[in-house]
C-alpha cells in the first residue's frame, strides 16, 4: 500500500466534491453555463472539454492494450482524437447554432417528433451507462492496487461519490474544474513518462521484446477498420460531449474550441504509448494479465522501491481518479438530465419540482452502472468504451450528419436508421459482454460491429426518408438557415432564442 497514493486519491476526490458543492451556487442550469461561456477563454473551455473526455479508457486502457497487443491498438488513441476532427468537420458549428443542449433536444428541434425524441432518450441512456461502466471498473481496479482493498469497495466508493456529487452538489461542475482536471491528467501521465524514459536510458536501453504481430499496425482488417469507423464517428454521438459544447457562445467559437481540443487531446495521447512500450521491459507479466494496470504499476516496477516510485505512483493514481471523476461527472449529469426531463418527468413523478426530479434521476442513473460494474468483470476498459463508441457511431452520428446536411431526412427515416444500426450495435455489444464468443468471422463482427452497423444505419435512414419524403418537416429551410448561417445574420429574435431556450 502506497500512502502517498492514498493521500493523492483522497485529495483529488475531496477537492472535486468540495468544488462541486461550492459550484452549486455558481452553476444552476443552461443559462449559467452561458454566463460562464462569456467569462471563459476558448483555451480553458477546450481544456474543460478535454478534461471531461479523457476517461479511464484513455488514462489506463490504451497503455494496457498497447502493452498486450501492440501497434494495432494505437488506433484507439488515434480514433479518440480523430473523433473530434469528424465532430469539427460535420457537426460542431451547426450543432451549437441549433441551440440543442442534449441529443433528444436536437432530434425534436430538427424533426419535430416526440416519438423520435423518446427513441433518442433510450439510446442516450444505453450509451451513457455503458460508458460509465468501465469508468467505475477502472476506479475499483485503481483502488485495489493502491489500498489492497477488494475492487468492489472502489466501485461503490466512486459510484457513490459521483452520484452524490451530481445529485446534491451541482448541476454540473464549473468549467474551470474540468479544465483543471485536464492539466492534472496531462501532468500525471507525462511527468512519470519522462522519468520512465530516463530510467530506461540509464539502464542501457534494454531491448524491447517484440514480435511481428505486436509491431504491425493492424490485426484483422475487418476488426481494424471497424474500430476506426467506431472511434472516428462515435465521438459526436456521446451524450456528455454535446452538453459541453453549449459553453461556446456561438458556432464559430464552437469550431475554434474544437480545434484546440484536437491539439490538447493529441498532446495527451503521445504518452500512454510510452507506458505500453516500456511495460514490455519492466512489467512483461501484465501482457497476459490485467493489462490496464500497467500505468499504475510501471513506476514502481521500473524505478524500484523508494521515494521517487512512491511519488510518481501517487501522481498516476491521482490522474486516474481525476479521469474517473471528471468523465463520470459529465456522463452522469447528461444521463440524469435526460432521464429527469424525458422519462421521470413524464411519468408518475411529473408533479415533482425540477430539482427533486433531477436528484431522483441522478440516484437512479448512478445506481445502474454501479450495479453493472459489480456484476461484470475482466473486460479491458478501452474495449468496453470502444463498444459504446460503436453504438454512438451507428445511431446518433448518422442522425446528426444527415440532419445537418440533408434536407430530405424525415423523423421516420431517422428512427428506422437508429433502430436498425444502433439496435444491431446494441445486440452485438450485449452479446460480446454477456455471451460466449461466436465462432469465426462472426466473433469479429460482434466484437467490433461498426463496420456493418454504421453503413446499415446510413442506408436505412436515407432509404426510409426517401420513402416517406412527403413527411419532410415544412420548416426545414428555416432550420437549415439557422444551422449554417453565421449568427450575425440571424434575426435578433432567433439569436435570443438560441441563447436562452432549450428548444
Amino acid at each position: 500500500m502506497n500512502a502517498y497514493a492514498l493521500f493523492a486519491i483522497a485529495t483529488v476526490t475531496v477537492a472535486t466534491v468540495a468544488i462541486g458543492a461550492w459550484g452549486i451556487r455558481l452553476v444552476r442550469g443552461t443559462s449559467d453555463l452561458l454566463v460562464a461561456s462569456r467569462m471563459v477563454s476558448p483555451t480553458q473551455n477546450a481544456a474543460a472539454i478535454g478534461g471531461e473526455y479523457l476517461s479511464a479508457a484513455s488514462f489506463l486502457g490504451v497503455a494496457g492494450l498497447i502493452l498486450a497487443y501492440g501497434a494495432q491498438m494505437l488506433w484507439y488513441p488515434v480514433g479518440f482524437a480523430a473523433g473530434y476532427l469528424a465532430l469539427l468537420l460535420f457537426v460542431a458549428a451547426p450543432l451549437r447554432r441549433s441551440g440543442a443542449f442534449t441529443l433528444p433536444d436536437f432530434c425534436e428541434a430538427r424533426l419535430a417528433s416526440p416519438r423520435l425524441r423518446r427513441l433518442a432518450t433510450a439510446f442516450v441512456l444505453f450509451i451513457g451507462w455503458f460508458y460509465l461502466l468501465p469508468q467505475l471498473q477502472g476506479a475499483g481496479l485503481t483502488f485495489r492496487i493502491v489500498t489492497g482493498a477488494p475492487s468492489w469497495v472502489g466501485v461503490v466508493l466512486v459510484g457513490a461519490v459521483v452520484t452524490g456529487n451530481v445529485a446534491f452538489g451541482g448541476m454540473r461542475s464549473a468549467t474551470y474544474v474540468q479544465a483543471f482536471q485536464y492539466w492534472l491528467k496531462l501532468t500525471a501521465i507525462a511527468v512519470p513518462a519522462f522519468f520512465l524514459l530516463a530510467r530506461w536510458n540509464d539502464d542501457g536501453r534494454p531491448a524491447i521484446p517484440v514480435d511481428d504481430a505486436w509491431l504491425a499496425p493492424a490485426g484483422g482488417m475487418v476488426a481494424t477498420y471497424s474500430l476506426i469507423l467506431a472511434t472516428f464517428l462515435g465521438t459526436m454521438g456521446l451524450p456528455h460531449v454535446l452538453a459541453r459544447f453549449y459553453t461556446n457562445p456561438d458556432g464559430g467559437s464552437a469550431r475554434r474550441t474544437t480545434t484546440i481540443v484536437l491539439g490538447l487531446v493529441g498532446l495527451f495521447y503521445l504518452f500512454p504509448t510510452v507506458y505500453g512500450v516500456l511495460g514490455r521491459v519492466y512489467t512483461p507479466e501484465l501482457a497476459t494479465g490485467r493489462n490496464d494496470t500497467v500505468v499504475l504499476l510501471l513506476p514502481a516496477a521500473a524505478l524500484g522501491p523508494g521515494l521517487a516510485a512512491d511519488v510518481l505512483g501517487a501522481l498516476v493514481a491521482a490522474g486516474a481518479f481525476a479521469a474517473f471523476l471528471s468523465t463520470s461527472n459529465g456522463l452522469l449529469t447528461s444521463v440524469a438530465g435526460v432521464l429527469a426531463n424525458d422519462v421521470l418527468g413524464r411519468g408518475r413523478l411529473a408533479g415533482w419540482g425540477p430539482l427533486p426530479l433531477f436528484r431522483a434521476a441522478a440516484l437512479f442513473a448512478g445506481a445502474v452502472p454501479t450495479g453493472l460494474a459489480l456484476a461484470v468483470h475482466g473486460l479491458n476498459v478501452s474495449q468496453v468504451v470502444g463498444l459504446a463508441f460503436a453504438v454512438a457511431a451507428s445511431s446518433f452520428c448518422p442522425m446528426l450528419v444527415l440532419g445537418i446536411w440533408w434536407r430530405g431526412l424525415t423523423a421516420a427515416g431517422a428512427a428506422a436508421g437508429i433502430l436498425a444500426g444502433g439496435g444491431s450495435a446494441v445486440v452485438a455489444v450485449l452479446w460480446t459482454i454477456f455471451l460466449p464468443p461466436a465462432p469465426g468471422l462472426a466473433a469479429d463482427l460482434l466484437a467490433q460491429p461498426a463496420a456493418w452497423t454504421v453503413p446499415l444505419a446510413f442506408a436505412v435512414m436515407v432509404s426510409v426518408s426517401l420513402a416517406t419524403r412527403r413527411r419532410v418537416p415544412g420548416a426545414v429551410g428555416a432550420m437549415l438557415l439557422r444551422l449554417h448561417a453565421p449568427e450575425t445574420l440571424h434575426s435578433p429574435e432567433t439569436q435570443r432564442r438560441s441563447e436562452t431556450s432549450r428548444l
Binding site: A86, L88, A218, M221, T259, G266, L270, L481, E493
Partner: protein
Amino acid sequence: MSDRVRVDLAAHRRVRPRPGAHDELVEQTPMGDALVRELMRVQLGLALRLAAVVAVALGGLPLLFSLWPAGTHVAVAGMPLPWLLLGVVSFPFLAGAGLVYTRLAERNEADFAALVGRPAERVTGSELSPQ
C-alpha cells in the same frame, strides 16, 4: 428543382452586396433558399475533401502495411515506421487538418455574410423559428 437559382459565394469580391439579400434570406424566397443551399454545398464540399484526405492518409495505413509487411521493421528516428506514424505524427496531423478546416470554413462564412449584407432593418424572427 431544375429552375433553382445559382449563387456564387465569392462574387462579393467582384460586385457589391445584393441589396435586400438579407430579407430574401430570412423570408425564404427562391433567392434566399438558393443562398443557403450554396453555403451548405460549399461547406459540405470543404468538410468532405478534408475528411477524404484524412481517411486516405490514416485509413490507408493498415492496408499499406499489410501489402508491405517489411515496412513495419523500417526504423525512422529510432522507431518502427508504423509506430512513428500512428503514435506520434497522426496527432499533429489531425490538429493541423482541424486548423485548416476552421480557417477555410470561417472564410466561407465571411463570404456568405458579405454577399448577403447586414439586415437593412429589424426583421421579425417568426420565419426562422423551428416550429
